[in-house]
Symmetry: C2
Subunit: 118 residues, 2 copies
DNA sequence: CAGAATCCTTATGGATACTG
DNA sequence: CAGTATCCATAAGGATTCTG
């Protein structure tokens, strides 16, 4: 997944697509969802998302940072490099939208499964 | 794009993804956005989205119907077949979510372009 | 630890021609 | 009009190995 720094003006006839491009993809949504609960390191994110490869995680994190949604800080602890990703101030404005997606999706999953999830 | 009739239970650790899967894709979002303004026929949608092929439009409409978001009705007017797509009652519940995506996206596009869009 | 580099598989979307 | 049927192009994602 690559970033969309400046959305194509043609996309303005469907502004919802602008947002979709930024947050969609198999892993991007999960990264954002996870970071809603607070910042996390690269390894935290990998462990939180079994199956993702370092390459793909890097690509998505880079895109999210390039789009201004995430902030990244490096720190050298001893000899080990630690990176931390969290929502930027601007990225925070997206959280209500993610919440809306989440609560609709939860309801939909319950409905589709016949309310088998308590 | 194919439909996701029953979301994978594993996806419940990121319910936002459930919604994303249903509405994302280059054309699915546009179809939904267009239909917010009312029902439309197959040809209306094609004309409204220059560049889409009949095959792709069909696939996406089928998926949206299979997912319960859209309703479809056929009518025979004379010898010509008319099909009409519109939001189902259930699909209507998604509109506030689409609106949230749209208004955030509009704001983002303006911001990214330096507020060049009045 | 946090990636970069490389190569590979598959999903998504597209072009064209044809049909009920 | 509203699609189907084929075949094709590209991009998203994945596996593996290596490095600062």
């Amino acid at each position: 997944m690559v970033s969309t720094p400046v959305p194509d003006p043609k996309m303005l006839d469907c502004p919802a697509l602008v947002t979709i491009q930024l947050v969609s993809g198999k892993w991007k949504t999960r990264v954002l969802w996870h970071l809603r609960q607070g910042g996390a390191g690269f390894g935290d994110l990998r462990r939180a998302m079994p199956g993702i490869s370092a390459k793909v995680l890097t690509e998505h994190l880079d895109a999210l940072v390039a789009d201004g949604l995430l902030a990244r800080t490096e720190s050298l602890e001893g000899k080990v490099l630690h990176t931390r990703y969290r929502f930027s101030d601007y990225g925070f404005t997206l959280i209500p939208v993610l919440d809306a997606l989440g609560s609709w999706g939860l309801n939909h999953a319950e409905r589709a499964a016949g309310h088998r999830f308590p």
